[in-house]
């Protein structure tokens, strides 16, 4: 239980909570498989991006998170 997931915007609504922790190590496949169906489908959409420790991944499928890492799930921004 040691990778922290942070859900932003409408993904926090879908998840029902803003944060959760999952087991390390965590790659894209294990992330999607670990989430319930509606949420998994949402994050597979083209417009959802991932950030690992504050850096946005160019390709979210390359996710490789370990012990103590923070993964943010970012839906399209709506601006200020």
């Amino acid at each position: 239980m040691s990778v922290k997931l942070v859900f932003l915007g409408k993904l926090a609504d879908l998840a029902g909570l803003p944060e959760m922790t999952v087991e390390a190590p965590l790659d894209w496949v294990s992330l999607v498989e670990g989430l319930e169906a509606g949420l998994a489908e949402a994050i597979e959409g083209d417009k959802v991006r991932l950030a690992l420790n504050g850096t946005v991944l160019a390709d979210k499928r390359t996710l490789d998170a370990g012990e103590g890492d923070e993964v943010a799930l970012l839906p399209p921004v709506s601006g200020g």
């Binding site: 942070v6 932003l8 915007g9 409408k10 926090a12 609504d13 950030a51 420790n53 504050g54 946005v56 923070e70 943010a72 970012l74 839906p75 399209p76 921004v77 709506s78 601006g79 200020g80």
Partner: protein, 154 residues
């Protein structure tokens, strides 16, 4: 060349930022300021802006640096609210000072276009007790696209 960027989770008074910012740049030719407020549209009761700390402030700082590099400025100030706001409350303040007016005006236009559709904020509004997530308007994307075409230094 000064850069001041702040993310606030409580109401703020734009004048209390613009006065000191202007005074900090003696010799300026002009200062342009934009203040955006929560519009009292129809039956909107509240607006909530969420952010992701590791990205949002860093992104605003990078935007300020980009404006400083692109326009001939003496300084730029960007202040943005997060959290729940009521209609009439200020959400965003951008102020730029320069020796010549058009650099200041263009920098504010540039920064606002980027803040409105290319910054790490998620926005929802409450009407009749129900929260709805907001997406950028088509015009916001079009406004942003203008800056990709003309990399002129003003």
């Amino acid at each position: 060349m000064a850069r001041q960027v702040e993310l606030l989770d409580a109401p703020f008074n734009p004048g209390s930022y613009v006065g000191p910012f202007t005074n900090a740049h003696p010799g300026l030719g002009g200062v342009c300021t934009f203040v955006g407020e929560v519009r009292s549209d129809d039956d909107v009761e509240a607006l909530e802006l969420s952010h992701y700390a590791p990205l949002t402030l860093a992104g605003m700082e990078a935007l300020a640096d980009e404006a400083l590099g692109r326009f001939d400025l003496m300084g730029i100030l960007i202040v943005h609210r997060v959290g729940e706001m009521q209609p009439g409350e200020p959400i965003v303040l951008v102020s730029a000072c320069a020796r010549h007016r058009r650099a200041a005006i263009q920098a504010v236009d540039f920064a606002m276009d980027h803040l409105k559709s290319d910054a790490w904020f998620w926005k929802r509004e409450r009407r009749g007790g129900v929260w709805t997530w907001i997406e950028p308007r088509e015009e916001d994307h079009a406004d942003l696209a203008r800056w990709r075409e003309t990399p002129e230094k003003v």
